[in-house]
Symmetry: C2
Subunit: 220 residues, 2 copies
DNA sequence: TAATCTATGTCAGTCGATGACTTATGACAA
DNA sequence: TTGTCATAAGTCATCGACTGACATAGATTA
């Protein structure tokens, strides 16, 4: 008993992520999964926050402490995707053409999806299916993507050594990259299996790569 | 008196737009202008529908009969822009490369802005200033743009003689075009005068045009 | 054990949005 | 002119997302 407690404490210290943190993460995922099932079952708009909270036995108020709003649930995957893209971008050589770096970032997201655990993959596909054909959520998703776009544009501008407010090319490069990702993500009227989705994304990336003039992203 | 009435009736008949219609349009613009001023004065989120309705002396319920929601006000210009793009696209020769047609559509919007009456131009610039730097509204605007994108993609796919659900290139072409427009529309930390905005948009269009491989939009 | 920190719940309230119903007003024919 | 009708506008009730203020329970640390 005492040993167990000590052991746990020790473990905590090592992983630098407390028991509390882990419990919170578990609750977060429980909310997400419950919500996802409700959404797919009875539709996004006709599912209330109250129902979601009820399904995981928390108060509606607590729900809003885990997710800033209802949309946040459906746009969950953006969080992770953005993180990977930003990290990848930082890790690419500074003298690499910006669009090339961004395509690497896209592929990194793709690899992450392909290498995810079955549970994570299932969640990802559920989220994709949820967005698929829902104009409201597609809109929200695109809006969230625009946020990522802004962050990426900051980095690209810095890398190009220009002022992001002045340089339109930085924004255009990132906008084209995000468009590529978005188009690949769409997969209408399909089963939406994982290989199907990743196939479409790869196709889209290759399409973009063979459409742009070599050096287009190095103009002054 | 009688003459006047007759005259008015006659006029109505000729223009085929009744007095009622015109009055409605006037109210619509009155709401929009009042809202715009309130937004710019005290911020978008802290202006309530009730205040807007109060400013033009209508009930809040009536407000929602003119605008589907509060965002609709700030995204007003999308309506007109989309119309011009769709019309222009229809008018372009069927064998013109799709991206070229879309760039013509963009320029058509630009020309329309440049040729607008002072009142309309002022309204346009107010709307632009309102979006400028407001992440929430930028998001909404991008989402609205995605709707236009979907419609354009339908047309482009038809023009290319492919199934819009299958063909990713159609979507990519349109996405690149809309990105071009969006990037041009941004004009951060500027006065935001009309020539300034149109200058940025022209610049963006030219940038896109000299970045893509000739014939990229004709791939199979 | 006491002091404290923090996650959660409760409650009240704001605001956007919608449906059902009533009232006013412009359009039009007799 | 007047009466009828269609439609615009107002009223009222309600829902659902979200927020701030405050209370409390349970874990954490001294």
């Amino acid at each position: 008993m005492t040993y167990g407690t000590l052991c746990q404490k020790g473990f905590e210290g090592v992983t630098a992520v407390g028991l509390r943190e882990r419990k919170k993460e578990k609750t977060r995922l429980a909310i997400l999964d419950a919500a996802l099932d409700l959404f797919l079952e009875q539709g996004y708009e006709s599912t209330t926050v109250e129902q979601i909270a009820g399904a995981v036995e928390i108060s509606p108020r607590t729900f809003f402490r885990y997710f800033t709003n209802k949309d946040h649930l459906a746009l969950w995957f953006h969080e992770h995707g953005e993180e990977i893209m930003l990290e990848t971008l930082e890790s690419r050589p500074r003298d690499e053409p910006p669009f090339t770096s961004l395509m690497h970032a896209l592929r990194a997201v793709l690899l992450d999806v392909q290498g995810s655990t079955p549970v994570d993959a299932a969640r990802f596909l559920k989220l994709r299916r949820l967005l698929d054909g829902n104009p409201y959520l597609i809109g929200r998703s695109v809006a969230r993507g625009a946020e990522t776009e802004r962050r990426l544009a900051e980095l690209i501008a810095a890398r190009r050594g220009v002022d992001p407010d002045e340089d339109q090319l930085s924004h255009l490069i990132v906008a084209f990259a995000m468009s590529t990702m978005r188009v690949g993500f769409e997969c209408p009227r399909r089963d939406g299996t994982l290989p199907e989705v990743t196939e479409r994304m790869t196709e889209s990336i290759e399409l973009a790569e063979r459409s742009l003039l070599p050096g287009w992203d190095l103009q002054r």
